[in-house]
Symmetry: C2
Subunit: 375 residues, 2 copies
Amino acid sequence: MSGGPREGRALFQEVKRLATTRRPTLKDVAQAAGVSTTTASVVLTNRREGVRVPDATRHRVQQAAEDLGYRPNILARSLRTQTTRTIGFVSDEVTTTPFAVGMLAAAQDEAARHGYLLFVVNLGPNAPLALQEQAIDQLAQHQVGHFIYGCMYHRVVDPPAGLPADAVFLNCEASGGRHRSIVPDERQGAYEVVKELIEAGHRRIAFLDDHRHPPASRLRFNGFRAALAEHGLEYEPALHLETTPFVRGGLVLSDLIDLPDERRPSAVFCYNDRIAMGAYRAARARGLRVPEDLSIVGFDDQEFIASELDPPLTTVRLPHREMGRLAIQLVLDEPGALDDVPESEDGVIRIAGELVRRDSVAEPRGAWGQRTPSS
Amino acid sequence: MSGGPREGRALFQEVKRLATTRRPTLKDVAQAAGVSTTTASVVLTNRREGVRVPDATRHRVQQAAEDLGYRPNILARSLRTQTTRTIGFVSDEVTTTPFAVGMLAAAQDEAARHGYLLFVVNLGPNAPLALQEQAIDQLAQHQVGHFIYGCMYHRVVDPPAGLPADAVFLNCEASGGRHRSIVPDERQGAYEVVKELIEAGHRRIAFLDDHRHPPASRLRFNGFRAALAEHGLEYEPALHLETTPFVRGGLVLSDLIDLPDERRPSAVFCYNDRIAMGAYRAARARGLRVPEDLSIVGFDDQEFIASELDPPLTTVRLPHREMGRLAIQLVLDEPGALDDVPESEDGVIRIAGELVRRDSVAEPRGAWGQRTPSS
DNA sequence: CTGAAAGCGCTTACAG
DNA sequence: CTGAAAGCGCTTACAG
């Protein structure tokens, strides 16, 4: 407030310092090259469209930009062009759990391939709708134009307000049917892995189910039944146990092992790999060897679990990377994105998983096996 | 190019549509409230500093903003104020592995608490320096002012160019000593978990080491030796095995189990939880029970592993969340951030982990135990 | 207390 | 081929 000459001088020095320190702008480059910012802009953005800049000028500008270490200010560019090459990735925890992590990585790679930057916002599971909408609002304030809503596991979500109509739901289905969704083809995966069991000769196959995750659980059950039906096998409710999707959930297998010989299963299909891990444990506790005495298969191909079990687990790999990549392509309206994907009836795009054969399946035998009549 | 009246009309309609569709700006709000953008800006940003806007005006502006659904354009604001409340989080895969994932989540939470947005960029492990620098450059173009460089596991990294001097390295140590680093206190963690074994009565303790991760491995070894020394126990090279940090790495324990009685260890300290998982397997293969016949401890408290083993594993929890939070506080120059943290000698901040007692440790006994003279 | 005006760093018709 | 000028949506001295 006093503004004496001394203070004025200090201020001047400061301004000077900032001026020399600050990042060079287009104007600086133009000045150094002796051209207008128009010209500098045109050559630096490689724009052609009928504009023909002589090579000499072009080189002068490029040289100046390099000498000064010029880097464009994306904020200014975006403000001016009214577009930001950004995609908002809102998620209930995907990026912080080992489950669906490939989705994010693949989405990021694919976005980069298109010159887009992914803004990732984690909400944590069960975030109240208000918090979700706040996050979306924050991204909108940053002018992000595209949105992906990613979930840790396959479920149905109520789309938060503020999401544009062309937002893509990843690993979850948006209720209301107003949005596109990409999910794993649970039914097909279950069908394949159960078929693997049947083709190995098993006739009595248990299903250790998870009753807490309706869409995935129901669909895997459908696949299970379809495989049975296709091979003329009857579904037996007594072999269908509901449990929790954790290692300890697999321990319920004990109940089935204790069944009289003729009613015991020779193979077990587990809702996920962790239940399978518990099933291994239950089998071992009863002195049963996997797969000699009992075949076990899982679902998910969860990292650090499925391949590390002893013996390594036959399971279904969830197509997370493919799903993440496709989400970006959809949101960016990439032509041909849906070419390799089967037509979806209900607006939900289902991507096939992949059977991963490892060492937990064998022919049934001994007291446990029933040789199939045909084999 | 023809520009007939018909085309002109269509264009007009389109412009009109866009105009009505577009997000309302400050100017729209000001107009609706009958004030200047200056006034609208002042009330909407809650700026005070001697500016006294009468309540009537204030309310009118706020009402207009709400009616129109006004949301500020952060790009424009940042461009004008020359600051973005953003932090770049560059990482070698942290966000896509289950290891150090708490770091990212905590960093994001803490950033949000300060009104900052985290821009997360994954590089993938072993990304060439050029790619890293490109990612940093991209963030810089977005005018991010602060940087965190996060690693999946504790190691030494060469800081890529383009990182400002006040960047923070998270879960890794920047070579060159020009940057601040935050890492877990490996030595202290190892010391504590080994002490747990010693205090349970063990005198012959093996170390299943990982030779591929120098800094962490060396420091855990130091902690191991410190605990031994403090209790008057001698370090025995024969019980120190180098192996790989995977489940199969733990199988080398078999060699130690096959040692003659008097030379066999009664407890095993494993470099990480996955090695411990393998050690369980090796013990079981030889008919040994954990912990009755052999105590086993790990390191990391890895999710889905440590607590799911049978019996649940005693281990050391890595302080990832604390580290992530601190990184944000450092980068934001939060006063008092370092108050709870022990003084670091070498510019590297080491955060203490926490001993997690579960059920894999018991007194030595039988052929395996040597009762301590004092107990 | 309030508004006109400048300017952040770009791009883009438009005119020469 | 090239430049002057406008303008994206804000904030902020500055003047009334």
